[in-house]
Symmetry: C2
Subunit: 310 residues, 2 copies
């Protein structure tokens, strides 16, 4: 259980400058351009980190460059929020180079998903800061429709009233019920990758959000079993699964994912909703990690109860 009270970053306003950083993999320039137009269309002024367009093998620049970019955005008082350009791989390599005290002194809304999962966990565990699991500039807005998601992203980050209830009409009820807890989670691969690290996911009392992409069913099974064996489902209040894009293809990936989920969660009784717009699909919720929410499978909704922004 997260014992420390988490810090709420400040609401964004129309016209605010926002930092765009790439703490993980290299960014496609076309996707970035398209994504920046979307961000500008929302009324924000994107400011690029120096290494956003760098490429160092499977990384967007050296670890030092990516860490410097991220810290520069926290340190610059003109920058009001920090949007990640894409995931990929490499946030883990940046975390040891960040400065938690500077981050704590300059709390800002950080948004990202996929590999950024580890950054959001780090911000909660090491900086007591609420982060946002949501679309990314190049990796989401720059290459997927994200129609409804754009509006919800903007409204959520500007603290527009009346945006607290998110519904997923196409979601499937795997186990009915209503549950309340703080939101946490992210990409399943990265949740497992957090185990035995200083930013290991804390799930007690939480509503857990889980998504992944391009993993055969047997790997999803293995990851859920690891979390289960590690006791991570024991005191969970409910689980929201994302769209799990391309997660059962391939000759070794046979098996319905719903069966995989129910099997791994058979010792639990909390509500489970699947196929929610979280992760690598065409639409994606922007969700505040560490903030109280209510999962209601009957209305296929997630109602944000706590305040995410100051």
């Amino acid at each position: 259980m997260t014992k420390t009270r988490l810090t709420r970053p400040k609401k964004l306003k129309q016209g605010d400058a926002v930092g765009v950083v790439a703490p993980a993999g290299p960014v496609d320039p076309e996707h970035l351009e398209k994504g920046l137009r979307v961000i500008r269309g929302m009324g924000f002024q994107p400011v690029l980190g120096e290494s956003v367009t760098a490429r160092n093998g499977f990384l967007a620049g050296t670890d030092a460059d990516r860490a410097r970019d991220l810290m520069a955005m926290f340190e610059d008082p003109e920058i009001k929020g920090i949007f990640c350009a894409r995931g990929g791989y490499g946030v883990n390599r940046v975390l040891p180079l960040l400065k938690p005290k500077i981050i704590q002194a300059n709390p800002k809304a950080v948004v990202g998903s996929s590999d950024i999962t580890l950054l959001l966990l780090y911000l909660m565990q090491k900086c007591s800061l609420i982060g946002f699991h949501g679309p990314m500039v190049a990796g989401s807005f720059g290459c997927r429709p994200m129609t409804l998601s754009k509006t919800q992203f903007r409204k959520t980050l500007t603290g527009t009233p009346g945006t607290g209830t998110l519904t997923a009409p196409h979601a499937r009820v795997l186990r009915p019920g209503k549950a309340r807890g703080k939101l946490t989670g992210g990409c399943l691969t990265l949740l497992c990758r957090s185990l035995r690290t200083p930013y290991e996911i804390q799930t007690d009392g939480h509503l857990l959000v889980i998504e992944d992409v391009n993993e055969p069913a047997y790997r999803i099974d293995g990851m859920l079993w690891q979390l289960k064996t590690a006791g991570k489902f024991k005191n969970v209040q409910g689980i929201v699964f994302g769209e799990m894009v391309q997660c059962s293809a391939g000759p070794n990936g046979t098996g319905r994912l719903d069966d995989v989920f129910l099997d791994a969660l058979q010792d639990t009784s909390f509500p489970i909703l699947t196929h929610c717009p979280v992760g690598h699909g065409n639409e994606m919720w922007t969700l505040p990690w560490g903030v109280e929410a209510v999962l209601n499978t009957e209305s296929r909704s997630l109602e944000i109860k706590g305040r995410a922004l100051a």
Copy 2:
């Protein structure tokens, strides 16, 4: 550090009956037939577990079936050793169903690799039993040349004198030196999958053997970083990397693996040998986990110092 003194299973003899089990994925019948001929050619009499040819999605039968097969081989006094048919996925699901006391009362040489990594760690940690990381009946002998490996497998498991020194003429010295420690390790994906479980890999004072197959370089990087962040390289004596078959292909997997290794291990000073015949290649050492060995990069050798069998 493994504090308990590990139990040595008994040497196998020509003519001994050996159990063949499939605790993980479904087995290709042709590979199995071919592998059984190899095992018979060594002078052993293979006895098949009931579910060896079963298929239950990505598993070789139900968890209960696979666990029952494995326990039956430990319980049957006629069975002198236990050879795994193949890896794949699913050992993790069988472990909670095993009976450590029965295993401890009937110590037998268990041989396997890949997904079987978790079974060998379980045998060491929960049953204080030395296990053998080595070729599998269908998954190795049944589908790969394994010329030298057959002889070394047979000699090692029958305790033939003079088989203690294994050399790898084609191995590459990534960092020179000589080191002594107990052997442990296995498939990197599974080593990470063991974290925060009751059979989590213990590396203190050990020589760590690491291999994997079909993982892009960025995933190898992420897994090594997780082990590093978990402190698993801190008190390691030396590392032996296997052949890492198909581990840098793909557009996102760019980057020389040697660079990935050296980078993740930059805070260490122990000797590192790569490209050793361990894992998913055409030849494969049979190595006793939990037994003292000396790694010598000059002679590209691993000398087994302790006794593995009673």
